[in-house]
Amino acid sequence: MSPQPQAAVGAPLSRVDGRLKVTGQAEYTADHDIDGVVHAVIVDSTIARGRVTGIDARAANAQRGVLGVISHLDKPKLAYRENQGAWLDPSVGERLHVFQDDRVRFFGQPVAVVVARTLEAAQHAADLVKVSYDAEKPSTDLTGAPENDPLPQQNYARGKPEEALASAEVRLERTYRLARNHHNAMEPHATIARWDGDKLTVWDKTQWTLGAQGELAAVFGIPSENVRVISPFVGGAFGNALRTWPHSTLAALAARAIGRPVKLLLTREQLYYGVGFRPAYEYGLRLGSTRSGRLTAAVHRVRGETSRYEQFTEGVMVPGQMHYATPHVRQAYRTVPLDVNTPTFMRGPGYSTAVFAMESALDELAHELGVDPIELRLRNEPEEDPSNGLPFSTRRLRECLRVGAREFGWHRRNPRPRSRRDGDWLIGTGMASGVYDTLRMRSEARVRLESDGTALVQASTSDMGPGTYTSVTQLAADALGLTMRTVRFELGDSTFAPSPPHGGSQTMAGVGSAVQDGCDKLRQEAIKLAVEDERSPLHGVDAGDVVVRGGRLHVQGNPARGETYRQLLARHGRTHLETRGTFTPAGDDRYSMYAYSAVFAEVAVDRRLGLVRMRRMLGVYDVGRIISPKLADSQALGGMVGGIGGALLEHTVTDHRDGRIVNAGLADYLVPVNADIPDLRAVYLDGKDPHADPIGVKGLGEVVQIGVGPAIANAVFHATGRRVRDLPITAEALL
């Protein structure tokens, strides 16, 4: 840890890019104005399975301003090299190869792209392209559909789960169903592609500039260094911009074919087909327990959607292995291939699904045993990670539960369902715990101190909304001993220092630690320069006794003795100092590292009309150190809102007759509006995780979404006495 005084870190600062954003000056991908750019619009398939038998582009081509209509009929050459770096992509199967054959694999698959001088001309021409098909009956319904053969890691067992279940004093067997969800970020996916010879520059909506760089290089068969990806602002993503989707390829393909830079923006409707989604799940859970509520066995049977061309899997098995002390566990996780596009990670991926089933089931068990739901969780709290016997780096779930109970007023609760009423509204409270992996990956950062005393920090990471611009600047400002105003952090460019994917709540841990390292090194270099310099007032001082504040190096406890960075650099004739910070996570397996939450919800359910409305929600988080409290609140509250959406509203609805999504738009795919969101409050346990990373953070963005759904479902049960096991919970389940 840095000996520097903490001024910016821990202060509730507003976003450094806030003014740019609210005044419309932040340039999101499609906002970039590239010289000579023309516009591309995708024509997508209106069948879910079959073949394209013809594309009549005559009317489209006849439109003024149209430069071309490209499809598989043009046999565009794409290398689609294997991409070793695409470790986030499904390991089994092969990504969609656009325009390489006539096959239609899902409804809404791109079958042609129209390029025109104006967006309006391209849109209208796209409407005029007539595509004919040889359609086959698609299969898009998870229920009853056959499964893929499992990968070895999709089976897990410890102990003798069946025997333990058979001999358990109390048994519970339940099935939970979670609807498919789409990310629905405000900013639509967009790509601008420009070729300069065999060098490709793309402005892309991405959470991983280096991932996009590697994938486009592989698709086009060019060296990675020939691709530059620029993405300074991302208007929300929730996981959907981790992968490089076919439209990015199509933009570059169109730019190559037309010989002009091309801008391609997905429509809101296309965002339901052209990029991924959180798969629908069926989650069967059998629990065995003692009468006193100690879990003895758990058998998980999990089925999730995937496409026919790739097997998408996510961390849905982890919570069942480590979250509670359960001696006997079996898990079978199966993907179900359907005529749909490949799903992807969405906030709290996998964990959120598993935790909904587990925390709902625990609530059912608590009710059956007559044990308080918090007490039941405390009774099953493990002392070490039950999946591998490792000690926890930090696990303060007990404290989350206790603090939450106190702050929420849990002790005033009458456990009997339907015991509280307010006019026509039945009032209920519920709780759940949550968990998410503490991911950490190698990261680098470039730090440069200019002779004018300002600093520039760069990393290729993204800021999809958590406020990376701000929180990293806070870290850098303190470590360099500068004010927030004199530090500039730049991100979102593949030419910057390498960063891991901006997802999985790992950006602070990785990029933050690398920046901390780079800034510490730079500060130490400056201090060394001073204390070894006879002309410096700091000459001869022990380097460890020097701190920097407001750009001035001085002796700790004696501010009068010192000088500024500017003076120091000027005297040495240096234009700048530069360092490279790195973070390499300890490769050991000494600790089990996770972030934890306890979520409390109060709902009102109209006793006759079945409507569920939120009344208040509290989340208590064990996430290590909080760098930027105001942004942490943005994250936590946003996560709760997302969780409320998933619990009560969000549901991608497919017409299984032809595989079309019938609510592909924000008028029909409901997300919460302000009126749905009550009093939300987030509390963070003070402290840090000393083992996770040098700055002590465990990651916040995912865990805040996890546990919200079951807390709400449990509250609905408490309000009404009705257990709803399918998400979202809508009126018809409660009439």
């Binding site: 209208h124 509203l649 079309r660 019938v662 029909d668 919460p672 509006v673 749905d676 009439l735």
Partner: protein, 326 residues
């Protein structure tokens, strides 16, 4: 979007001429422009009528209301006379859409708005309303939000308006101006049930222009209100809704005006419920008994069976809210 010509009418005569020549009237544009973007609507000519002098709300001498066709939803909702005389209208308006849309959309346009059926709005799906004879994808498709009343095998789409439900309950009339002069049509006859011609939605003759909606005077005191039931608390169309107006004198219900929304192919007047109420004394038992008739004749589909019971409960609730009870 398909190319179109745009003209602005400076007076009603100009508008009618342009309308007679096939122009489509546009005022707030909140429905039409959306549908043009989706290529559901492909008008060749748009006639902007927003400058016509149809923006007055007048209280008639006997205590009715005349709302000009170009009055904005937000203006009508905020109007003192509307609020005092017919809270059911202002409530229905305020529960509609969003503040931004209400500031643009007009009363005439509101009752002309087209269904939210997603198959209607998706030009790649079968829809008899959009393309006569192509079939109805909703009938055996995803139909949770669709109608249970007034449907046919050719169309099961709901009429989406809230304020039209209030107009139906209050037995409004629609004032029209056409090439052949003025006429009025009872609200109940203005919006058409789909039958075998779901593409015909209003009893408008070619080129006719809505000039106003008139609410007749009802005996006073009149209590009224609107209840909208929906998954989301705001900015969503109704699963079910109920407009209720009651004239209670001497402890007896003398007049009852009740209509339902979200359930019918048109705003659904409920005469059977009204008959149960008239001449009786308000009580919780009466509300329940009357509301039992709210879904008479309902023809639920695969995903919207719950609407039958939800409709009864919606009407029961709103009768109690307006008529009193616990």
């Amino acid at each position: 979007m398909y190319p179109f010509a745009f003209t602005k009418a400076s007076d009603t005569r100009q508008a009618l001429t342009a309308g007679r020549d096939g122009g489509r009237y546009i005022a707030g544009g909140t429905t039409l422009v959306d549908l043009m973007r989706e290529t559901v609507e492909r008008p060749r000519t748009l006639v902007d009528i927003s400058g016509l002098p149809l923006r007055e709300i007048t209280v008639t001498r006997r205590g009715g209301l005349r709302i000009g066709a170009l009055v904005r939803m937000s203006e009508a909702a905020a109007h003192r006379g509307v609020r005092a005389l017919y809270p059911v209208i202002s409530q229905a308006l305020e529960l509609s859409a969003s503040a931004q849309l209400r500031n643009m959309a007009t009363i005439g346009g509101n009752i002309m708005q087209r269904t939210r059926c997603t198959y209607f709005r998706d030009v790649t799906a079968a829809c008899n309303k959009r393309e006569p004879g192509s079939g109805c994808a909703a009938l055996h498709g995803v139909n949770r939000t669709h109608a249970i009343l007034g449907t046919s095998d050719d169309c099961v789409a709901t009429h989406p308006s809230d304020v039209a439900v209030a107009f139906a309950a209050l037995e409004a009339t629609v004032h029209l101006l056409g090439p052949d002069g003025e006429r009025t049509v009872p609200f109940a006859d203005f919006l058409l049930r789909p039958g075998s011609t779901p593409n015909r939605e209003q009893a408008l003759r070619p080129g006719e222009l809505i000039t106003a909606v008139e609410i007749p005077a009802h005996p006073r005191p009149l209590k009224s209100g609107y209840l909208k039931v929906r998954d989301r608390q705001s900015y969503e169309f109704a699963l079910t809704s109920a407009a209720v107006a009651l004239h209670i004198r001497g402890g007896v219900i003398r007049e009852a005006k009740v209509a339902a929304g979200g359930v019918g192919t048109v705003p659904w007047k409920l005469p059977a419920v009204e008959r149960q109420l008239i001449g009786r004394r308000p009580s919780d038992a009466l509300w329940t008994k009357a509301a039992e008739h709210a879904a008479d004749g309902a023809r639920p589909l695969q995903h919207n069976r719950f609407k039958v019971e939800l409709l009864r409960r919606t009407v029961e609730r709103q009768l109690r809210v307006v008529g009193g009870g616990k």
